[in-house]
């Protein structure tokens, strides 16, 4: 279980709940914007799926801003007391190699076109890392937006920059396709009921019925396509000299 920053500790809850205290926990919030009306839905779906896959994505929720607008709030994982820098890809790979395959597959699965070095944070001293910022995936990130983007993603890897956006900062690092094995198993086993629930929750924050339906279909379909998509894009992983697993 990861640790997160608190803003205040106490007072105690009161009678009947021994030892419990009220806590203020720091979080970072972001709203939908004019240029990207899918921030909340993207972030909610991506975070729920990522955490199900056991990636270290901070817990999150939705809060109301001062003017009543909804904000996606992600817990502040800044434990050291100081913000950590963007990752250096080779250093990150060397330290967290066993997780890189899953991370690449997760980003490919959600069509993330924005996994640059600033969207990962690593504390090498504690051997911890965090994955965050999923506002440019699924329904937005490259043009066209909305359900048309889902259509354009169908057979694309996306993390190779094939649709535009940023090439994944770790795609040139992975050296062994066997690191994909566990991640593919996990993605392929995502339950349909789970995807349905997650998309249903996200839809409350700005999706039309059509977009909701398209998103659910996309996620169900892409689960089973991922293996073939990776096989079709082997050239996008230049450091894998020999493919043994795929």
């Amino acid at each position: 279980m990861d640790l997160y920053r608190i803003t205040h500790f106490g007072p105690s809850v009161g009678l009947g709940v021994s030892g419990a205290v009220h806590l203020g926990i720091a979080a970072v919030g972001k709203p939908n914007g004019a240029g990207n009306p899918y921030v909340l839905s993207n972030e909610i779906v991506a975070a729920e799926i990522g955490r199900y896959l056991r990636l270290p994505i901070p817990p999150s929720c939705v809060v109301s801003g001062p003017s009543g607008d909804s904000h996606y709030a992600s817990l502040n994982f800044n434990l050291t007391g100081a913000a950590l820098p963007p990752v250096i890809p080779t250093n990150f790979y060397n330290e967290f190699e066993e997780h890189v395959g899953l991370l690449l597959l997760f980003d490919a699965y959600i069509g993330n076109s924005d996994r640059h070095t600033g969207n990962l944070s690593a504390d090498y001293g504690a051997h911890r890392f965090n994955v965050f910022d999923h506002s440019h995936c699924l329904l937005s990130g490259t043009h066209p937006q909305g359900k048309d983007r889902l259509t354009s993603c169908q057979t694309e890897l996306v993390i190779d920059g094939g649709l535009g956006g940023n090439r994944h900062c770790l795609i040139d690092q992975i050296r062994d396709d066997r690191l994909f094995r566990d991640g593919l198993d996990r993605i392929e086993s995502l339950p349909e009921w789970f995807l349905g629930d997650v998309v249903g929750e996200a839809a409350e924050y700005g999706l039309t019925a059509e977009e909701r339906s398209a998103l659910l279909d996309f996620l169900k379909d892409r689960r089973v396509r991922m293996r073939q998509i990776v096989q079709d894009h082997k050239a996008s992983f230049p450091a894998i000299a020999v493919w043994s697993f795929l």
């Binding site: 100081a82 913000a83 950590l84 820098p85 600033g118």
Partner: protein, 267 residues
Amino acid sequence: MTVTYFVAKYADDPLRMEPKNIGVIAIVDGHFYARFIGESEDDSSLDLRKVRGHVRHSGAYKQWIEYWRYLLAGTQSNETIVNGLQATPRLNYFISESSTMAIDAPAEPREILEYLFHLLVSAFPEQKNEELSLSQRCDEILGQYRLRQNPHFIESPRVPCLLSNTRTEHVQPSYGYVNGAEIYFQRVPLIESRPESSAKEVHNAAWIFERLRSDRQERQTRALVKLTAAAHFPNLLDVLSSVSSSVIDVDNQTQVHEEFSRFVAAH
């Protein structure tokens, strides 16, 4: 020459935003040079023990220095590198906007970097470096040749020099020996980390010597330097050689003996 530089800053509390300078990045001749607190002058190796007291978490500090050096070592254009440095979110660690500084004396990039580092980040090294050691060495020479007991040898003499028919100016070299001939000595401290200051010392010596010899051409002038320090300033050394009768390396026993032993004999 004009140098563009950036200051690396650390703010313990991003809300209060009271940053302190932790490093400097300079662009000299189109190349990046950087130094951060805790790094050695020679090989940029980082000693985190020197960082304690400056930042709260030395592990995070180390990662930031590694990241900035990673950006600086990139092969992209300078503009791209600068944009990458300044894209750092303004939380605890960030890079300032660029500033420029005019450097009078020609200097090696490392010298400029060290000067900026001491000017903006840490204090200048204490005077127990070349400046004091030049004075100490000169004191040793005075003692060795018993020059303070020599009635012809004067410390900091005030020498009148005629500027025009009606105006006289007094110059004050470090030492003078007057016994028929007039020989004047000027200590010229040259400090690697302070190129501007070093240039001023040379120009001051040049002015003193020029005044002395304009007034009386037969006067002899000697610049006293530590040649190990002067090696970092070949151009300044050339200037000194052109305005002095001779340049004496106070660490060269042969030169020192050749110059000062005759005062003892004369006395």
